[in-house]
């Protein structure tokens, strides 16, 4: 949303989309189980976009995103189930605590680079999971039962907020600071960018939205267990971002939609679903290693000029 026009355009589009979808649901043209899939898609998009700001924009390789999802899920579940607080408060608190955790994790570990950072974040993610595993207050390994509060409206509003915030940040001087870190950290530093600050900020913001997604997730599936938040989950989220194209938010969104739909569709083919899923993943990566969208955004397709996509990465 480079300018105010684009911003309002997006909002109007979003609310029109919401209005139509809600109408169709009320009229029962979209059956209930599709609504559930849509909510699930929205959650996955939030997750994908929240990791996109960390990996795609700032270039910090995190493998522990599921940990922040877990914090959001558990904290918000405690808010509603144990403290009887309203759902939107729970979502916000869940996100905030996740963001705090992101801050605490980010400050020491973002000094590391590349694979060392990946493994450290993976470690933090696992530590968070093991923590919940050992807290009997939230049911330990068996998990915690949570009421179903996540509606399409909640999911959609959170989704729109996430996208607006991330896009606004990315398309600002602060976003450019983050991107410059991804491109060349030493040069960014030499240009007066406080690299640590922006890395931690991106990480914290990403954790916040992962936490919000966690709140939606917990209140959509009736039960949460530490096992849902292992490193495999982190990898699932990572796959959204990479498959969509590192650095492209619309790519992350598209990939999240695509993979969620594929996965739901394959539910009926128990024996072969994971084989098909993995094949899809391998084939897409082999033929489009830069991801579905490369680094370009879908909006650039509508612009007349300057829409040159950077597809010649492979020759670099």
């Amino acid at each position: 949303m480079k300018n105010t026009k684009g911003f309002w355009g997006f909002l109007i589009f979003a609310f029109a989309f919401y209005g139509i979808s809600q109408l169709l649901m009320v009229m029962n043209i979209i059956p209930y189980h599709y609504v559930n899939t849509m909510v699930f898609i929205a959650i996955n998009i939030i997750l994908a976009v929240s990791l996109h700001i960390v990996i795609g924009v700032t270039g910090q390789f995190s493998l522990g995103h599921a940990g922040f999802l877990a914090i959001g899920a558990y904290v918000s579940a405690i808010m509603t189930m144990k403290l009887q607080l309203p759902f939107f408060v729970a979502l916000f608190v869940g996100g905030t605590i996740a963001a705090l955790a992101g801050l605490v994790v980010g400050i020491p570990s973002l000094r590391l680079k590349g694979d060392y950072l990946a493994i450290a974040t993976l470690g933090f993610g696992e530590i968070i999971r093991i923590m919940f595993l050992n807290i009997d207050y939230v049911g330990g390994a068996a998990g915690m039962q949570v009421s179903h509060l996540t509606t399409w409206t909640y999911a959609f509003v959170c989704l729109v907020i996430t996208i607006v915030v991330i896009v606004n940040l990315t398309n600002s001087s602060h976003g450019r600071a983050c991107i410059s870190i991804r491109e060349d950290e030493i040069a960014a530093d030499a240009m007066g960018i406080n690299t640590t600050y922006y890395k931690v900020a991106a990480f914290t913001l990403g954790s916040f939205f992962a936490g919000v997604a966690g709140g939606l997730y917990a209140h959509n599936f009736y039960i949460i267990q530490p096992g849902n938040f292992g490193f495999i989950k982190s990898i699932d989220i990572l796959i959204f971002v990479v498959l969509g194209g590192l650095g492209s938010m619309s790519g992350a969104v598209i990939a999240a939609i695509l993979l969620t739909v594929v996965s739901t569709f394959l539910q009926g083919y128990a024996e072969t679903r994971m084989i098909i899923y993995s094949l899809v993943l391998i084939i897409v990566m082999l033929y489009r290693p830069q991801g579905l969208m490369g680094t370009s955004e879908i909006t650039s397709w509508f612009k007349k000029k300057g829409g040159k996509s950077n597809d010649n990465r492979t020759t670099a």
Binding site: M1, T4, F7, V165, N168, L169, S172, S173, H174, G175, R176, A177, I179, S180, E183, D184, I186, A187, A188, D189, A190, M191, G192, I193, N194, T195, T196, A201, G247, T295, K305, G306, K308, N310, A316
Partner: protein, 262 residues
């Protein structure tokens, strides 16, 4: 010495494992000077720049800018204090546009918060607009405004070098460090570069230190030259003095130097 120098390096040095890459370097650079830093390959010139910009922390000595100690400061803080540089191997933000490369350098001067950007408060629009204007103006100085939307990595080499200098200047430094700006340029292009350096020095009121192996360039525009060898200063003075200094000839220039037409 009545006025304090802009940059003072006293006894600075650094050690990598057993290797003393730079040791006991003393330098004083006054405002407005154009200084050359030369020496054989591996003498420690780039390392000196790395010490000045905080990429490496000196293991000995002290560095100060306008009387303020720089030792131990992070590179971005040093940049904000007024030292900015280019790199021996070009380090542009490859995937960013030419314009954005320059805007990144302006970032540290902007005041609007992340909050105002996220919520698109008026201050965001104001600052971004200013930044954009300044950056475009700036690019036109470097004849790069026509290429502002081009991705940096697609620029030809010579223009990448120019863009890197432009980017360094956008951070509004007092002291600019150029590491082999003419490397890979042919004599014609080198001449153009010399003009450019002279021009920006005037226009931006700069103090410049440059590392270069092209003697025509160094002898042609530098007022004072420091010569490093094996990490230590072996000579310091004006081009004529340095050119005839026996140690410099032995270690660096070789017997016959055909730059007499300077």
């Amino acid at each position: 010495m009545t006025t304090a120098p802009l940059l003072r390096v006293s006894g600075a040095g650094i050690q990598f494992g057993g290797l003393k890459a730079v040791s006991d370097v003393h330098m004083e650079v006054n405002e407005g000077e154009l200084i050359g830093l030369i020496g054989p390959n591996g003498a420690g010139k780039t390392t000196c720049f790395n010490l000045l910009t905080g990429v490496y922390m000196p293991t000995e000595g002290e560095i100060s800018l306008e009387g303020q100690r720089l030792n131990g400061l992070a590179p971005f803080k040093i940049t904000r204090k007024g030292i900015s540089r280019t790199f021996q191997n070009i380090r542009l933000f490859k995937e960013l546009s030419v314009l954005d490369n320059v805007k990144v350098a302006y970032h540290s001067l902007a005041r609007h918060s992340m909050f105002s950007s996220i919520f698109r408060l008026p201050s965001h629009f104001k600052e971004e607009r200013e930044m954009e204007q300044k950056a475009i103006e700036f690019l036109s100085v470097f004849d790069l405004d026509g290429l502002k939307d081009e991705t940096a990595k697609n620029l030809p080499y010579g223009q990448q070098r120019r863009l890197e200098i432009a980017r360094a200047l956008a951070a509004e430094p007092k002291l600019l460090l150029l590491d082999e700006p003419a490397a890979g340029m042919n004599p014609q292009e080198t001449m153009e570069l010399m003009d450019l350096i002279a021009f920006i020095r005037e226009k931006f009121d700069l103090t410049i230190i440059l590392i270069e192996h092209d003697m025509q360039l160094v002898m042609g525009i530098c007022e004072r030259i420091y010569v490093l060898d094996h990490g230590q200063l072996i000579a310091e003075g004006d081009p004529n003095f340095v050119r005839n200094h026996p140690k410099v000839i032995e270690a660096y220039l070789g017997e016959e130097v055909d730059t007499d037409d300077a």
